[in-house]
Symmetry: C2
Subunit: 286 residues, 2 copies
């Protein structure tokens, strides 16, 4: 857990916003701490109705020159990326001249996978004089705490599954693949790569139906962890109420997430959903 | 590649048969080498019309006592397991007294994952005086050779993807998960666990449709390898014409399989399918 940076706290914070509820949550937390935020929601990713009271400039993916001009005019020096970019609509790119002039570099950034892509874009912004921060650095309230969320505790069988899952994620981390696995009866039954956590969990229900998983319903754990070499400013794993629903639909006992290295979206809704479904949500040591 | 064992070659070979075309291929190869085979097809897994000319005793999963009695009466001393057990119908078990008397042991065997399960059953058969062999030991014709099958060659981009896939499979091998990954543009986009290779490949097509994979169609490789600590007598990875179809439907450039450590079902059909689809099939050093 990093302390809130002080260097340029007097400047308004530029918040580049993707989809989901996290951008507004971060904007509200930062505002509550007394710092102004300027939102730059991305068309096709961010929800138009989400950001009512905050100042906002909407951008298409690729409008880097426009962003640099607006953010400088607002006096921003710090920049945070937050929210999901998983919808196809966000990839209707409108590259402006600034991007076109750097095309070989943009192309190189794309070739190395998501983690590499974000690191490259981040480095690029820093060359333009912005300081790139993680959302958890400006709003540590969004981080997963250690211990139990909600009223269901981790059971003994799940403990062994969690240890195995973390062992795997640490071992496979250098390959820049997914950040999540499902383990049941000390056996890894699903590994996340490009499909994302929700799609991986949907497959578990399917595997139970067609008899390829023998573990009883109510057994098994989703384990999520940050990648070892991941730049935590861009790409911490995150959970939310929807993750709880997917875990319940997959017939698992619960989920374990690395404390201090994962983001919780809509924590109140998440706890309500977990208690209702009878599943545990545990923050574990990375 | 193991030499064909000689110790009890005069005895007929007991072949426990699951689904797919491999059981008949192995039976034919062994017969062609002048050794008698007695088939024990499993109800719900093996196809009833598959084994015309060979002597056969059909069994339900769990009829261990019946198998031991019949195989001994036939004079068998060597036993091979071959074919898939993935259909739910095969798990309609009919445990006979022999299995029931060993239930705690059967239960323990089931808890550790597929690899552990088969190793346990194998050890059990050996205690009853049978020698357990791999299908590739009695019919080395079924092994994947090194080099190219069909007329499409591996391209330069695919070579880097194959190296990365093999590196991952060796690294993750100790976790007894899947034996396959899909790599595109030097990025792992899918990892196989309990779902099996065909289901993993079906997901690639879906990921392309919903925009979560940016690699162009015609790029990317399926890589399959035997697990490092795997008992090769039970669980070598296998490919066949159906794998080729799934690779083509996923929009990949081809597949690489560890030579001498993977089984090829219906090689003629596989080559026809690969040439028709324009994809490469390569046997690579493990």
């Amino acid at each position: 857990m990093t302390a809130t940076p002080n260097a340029s706290e007097q400047s308004p914070l530029a918040l580049m916003c993707g989809g989901g509820s996290l951008p507004l949550a971060v904007a509200d937390h930062v505002s509550a701490r007394g710092r102004r935020v300027i939102l730059f929601p991305l068309v096709g990713a961010a929800e138009p109705e989400s950001f009512g009271q905050h100042k906002q400039h909407w951008l298409y993916m690729g409008q880097v020159g426009k962003f640099l001009k607006l953010a400088r005019a607002e006096g921003c020096r710090d920049l945070v990326f937050i929210g999901s970019l998983t919808r196809p609509s966000v990839w209707k790119v409108r590259p402006d001249f600034h991007v076109l002039s750097a095309l070989p570099r943009v192309y190189a950034a794309f070739r190395g996978g998501d983690n590499h892509l974000l690191t490259s874009i981040g480095g690029w912004m820093e060359e333009h004089g912005f300081r790139l921060l993680g959302a958890h650095e400006v709003a540590p309230e969004i981080l997963m705490p250690e211990g139990q969320l909600g009223r269901v505790a981790v059971n003994e069988a799940a403990r062994a599954d969690i240890a195995l899952g973390l062992d795997y994620l640490h071992t496979a981390g250098r390959f820049d693949i997914g950040q999540a696995v499902v383990v049941a009866d000390k056996h890894i039954i699903a590994v996340e790569a490009a499909e994302g956590t929700d799609a991986m969990l949907a497959r578990i229900a399917e595997l139970r139906r067609n008899g390829r998983i023998h573990a009883a319903s109510g057994k098994g754990v989703l384990i999520k962890a940050a990648k070892p070499n991941q730049d935590h400013r861009f790409d911490l794993p995150s959970i939310g109420p929807r993750t709880v629903e997917c875990v319940a639909a997959a017939g698992l006992a619960g989920m374990a997430v690395t404390a201090g290295q994962a983001i919780v979206a809509e924590p109140e809704q998440l706890v309500l959903a977990a208690d209702r479904a009878g599943i545990f949500v545990a923050g574990v040591k990375p």
